[in-house]
Symmetry: C2
Subunit: 399 residues, 2 copies
Amino acid sequence: MKTADPELMRAINRLNVLDTIRRHGPISRVEISERTQLSTTTVSAITASLLDDGLILPRHEGDIRNEAARGRPRVMLELNPDAARVVGAKIAANRLVFVVTDFRGDVLSNLTLPIRIDRQPIGVIADLVEDGVRRCVVDAGLSLEDVDTVCLGLPGVIEHRTGHIRSSPIFRDTNVDFASEMTSRLNTPTIVESDAHAITLAHHWFGKARDLEDMVVISLEQTLGLGVLHDNQLFRGAGGLSHNLGDLVLGMGPRGIVRLSSQAGESEILGEQPVGGRFAEAIRLGRGMTHAQALIRAEDSGLINAAIRAGEAVGVAIANIVTLFAPPRVIIVGSSLALGEPFLDSLRNAFALAIPPSLKGVAELVFDDSTDNFWAQGAAAVALYELYESPWNTTGPAL
Amino acid sequence: MKTADPELMRAINRLNVLDTIRRHGPISRVEISERTQLSTTTVSAITASLLDDGLILPRHEGDIRNEAARGRPRVMLELNPDAARVVGAKIAANRLVFVVTDFRGDVLSNLTLPIRIDRQPIGVIADLVEDGVRRCVVDAGLSLEDVDTVCLGLPGVIEHRTGHIRSSPIFRDTNVDFASEMTSRLNTPTIVESDAHAITLAHHWFGKARDLEDMVVISLEQTLGLGVLHDNQLFRGAGGLSHNLGDLVLGMGPRGIVRLSSQAGESEILGEQPVGGRFAEAIRLGRGMTHAQALIRAEDSGLINAAIRAGEAVGVAIANIVTLFAPPRVIIVGSSLALGEPFLDSLRNAFALAIPPSLKGVAELVFDDSTDNFWAQGAAAVALYELYESPWNTTGPAL
DNA sequence: ATGATTTAATCCGCATAAGGGAAAAAATTG
DNA sequence: CAATTTTTTCCCTTATGCGGATTAAATCAT
C-alpha cells in the first residue's frame, strides 16, 4: 500500500480540484469549494498553484450568473487547453483512426485511414500507426515534441499496466510489447489500452455517462469487449487485464463449447452470407456492416436471422454482466448496432427474459452509435487521465 | 470524493500499521517500518497510539529471531485479543451457525443449530437468530454489552451498505431491512453481508488466499454465490450489491432460459432423485448432501449423472468468471463439493474446455471443504474489518 | 565485572499540509 | 462614495511525516 504523507494529501486535493474544473466547465472558486468540501482558503491556494503551472486559465468574461450580480464578480476557471496535447487512436482490423486533442479533450484534428492491417506483420502495423500519428499531429499544426502522450486503443486482451498485448485479432503474435515499440518509434510516451476501455472513458467524460460513477459499456465490433466503470474508475481485472466478452461461454451445444464470439462476432454474422459477389468483397474491405444494413432493409431473411440470433446471444450476455456488476446503465456501442431493429429488438427481448427478476429495472440499456472519432477521443481521454495524475509526482513544495 | 486532510492521512497509516500487525502475527516495529515503507519514527508514534488505545499489546518474550541476537532486542507487537468481541453467523436454510471471536478473529465459542428456518415468517427467523446470538455470547462467557458488532452472513442478494436483503432463499419477502431489525433486537450494531462475501474474507484472512490480493471464491450451497477480492478489498457491485451466481444464464434451451441455479443448485441436484423414502426425508431435514455422498459411493447412476451435469455447468460458469476477473486463484467452497469426484472431475474438465486459450493457466482452481464455523468466522471478519476502519473517526489527536 | 558494540526505540526540530478566522483587496452595483 | 460579494492574504493552530541525534537495552570482548 502506498504510504500517506502530506504530499499525497496535496496530490489528492489537487486532483480533486482539477477534476472538478474539468467536469464542471468554467467554474468559480466558491463553487469549487462547495463541490469539493474544501475550504475556500485551500481552494484558493490550490488554484493558484494550478494557474501557476499553467494547467488552468481564468476567464473574466463568463461571470454571467443569475442577474442579481452584485458584489465582486466571480472569476471563472477552466482547463487551459494548451496545457497538453495528446494523441488518441482507435486501431481496428480494417481502419486506423487518430485524433489529436488538447488538455480539455477537444479534438484538434482527426484522421481516418481505411486500410486493412489485419494479419499484417507487427512491423508493418507499427509503421502504419506511426505514420498515422505523425500525419495527424502535423494536421493539427503541431510537431511530435508538442505531444505529451499517445494512447492506442485496440481490440483484444490488453495488459494496460505493462503495455503488452496478450492477444488481439489484429496481431498474429501474442504477448507483443507494443507500448515499448511505439514509444521508441515515436520518441513520445505511448500507452496501450483496450478499445472497450477507451470508449468507456469517452462516455464517462464526454458521452452518455457523465452523470454516473458506475456503469458498463458493451462494445460490439469485430471483437466483443467490455468496459466497467466502478466508483468513477475503470475497473481492470487482476493484473490490469482488459476483459474479452467474446470469450464468454454461452452454452455447451452438440458441437462443444459455444462462445459469444461465435454467435455475435461481426465476421460470424456476416460470414453466414453466401460467398462471392459484391458482399464478400465488401466484407474483405471492411464495409460489411454497411452492406448488411442495406440487405436488412431489403429484408434479406438470411441476414435477418443471423442478426436475431446475435441479438439474443448478446442480450443474454449483457444480462449476465448486469447480474455481476449491477450497473445503473449499460451502454451498447459498436458497428454491429448497424444491424438495426431486428438485432436490437431481439437483444432487448433476450435481455428482458434473461435478467433475473430481482434485478429487473436496475439497469437501463442505452444504444449509442458514436463515430470512430469518439473512440479515438476516448483513447485520448485515457492519455489525459494519466497526465492528470502525473502532477502527483511533479508537485513540489508550493512556492 | 472525500477530502484529504491530516486526519485522513493518519487514518490511512494507522490502518496500514494495524493491518500489518494483524497479518504478520507478532511483529517488531522495525519490521513494520520495512513492510509499510513508513519511517521508524512514524511507526513508533502510531504504535504508541495503538498501544494507548489498547488495540495492540507488546510481547517481550517472543524476541527469538535468528540466533545472532546482538543489540537491543525487538519488542514484538500483536493484536490485543481483548480489544473487541464480535459475533459472526452463517444463516442457511437448514441451519444457523454462530461464532464469537476476539479482535484477532480467534473463535471463543461456537454454536450450531440444525433447524430449518427456510420459509418461516421473518419474525420467527429473527427470533431464532437473536436467540442463537445470545446463547453463543453466553457460551463465550460474555454478555451482549461486551460485543461490538454482529455480522450475519446469508445467501442471496444482499445490499451491504443499507443492510437490506433484496432477495434470499430463506426469506419469503423481498427487500427486508434485516440489519435494522436485528440491531434493535440485540441492541448491538448488526450488519448483514452475503455469505459468499463472508467466506471470501475468511479465506483472505485465515484461509487459502492469505498471500493474494486478487482472487475469487465460488460458493456452491443452496444458493450459488460469488465473492471477488480485488486489490485486497471485497469487490461489491454498484450500490454494494452482492452477486448471485445462480442467476447467470448458461444458455437458451428448448424450454427457455437455462440458469445456473437450475443446473447446479443443491435442491436441483438432489431433486432429481425419486421422491419418497429415506432420501426425501433427508433432503427435507437438510441432510441431503450427506446422503447424496453415500449414494454416490454406492454408484447410484441417477445421482452421478446429476452431479456430472452440475459440475459441467459450474465449470463453465467459473470459466466465464475468470474471463471477466482474471484472478490468479479460484477457491471453490460449499456443500456441493460433497458430491465428490464425479462432480469435481466434470467441473475441472468443463473449466479446462471453457477457459479461453489466452487465459489458460492464469487461474488455479482450489477446492476447499471448510466447516460452517469457517463461514461464520468469515462473517466475524467482516465485522472486524468495519471495526478496524472505525478508529478513523474515534482517533483523536495523538497525545 | 566493566566498557565497547550493536540494534531498537524515542525525542526534538523542521518541513509540509489543511483549516479557521479575520481582515484586506478587488470588482461591481446602486 | 457606500454597499456587496468574491477572492486573496495573513496569522495561528493542529496535524502529519521525516531525518538526525539521543537514549535504552541487550550482547560481546577484554
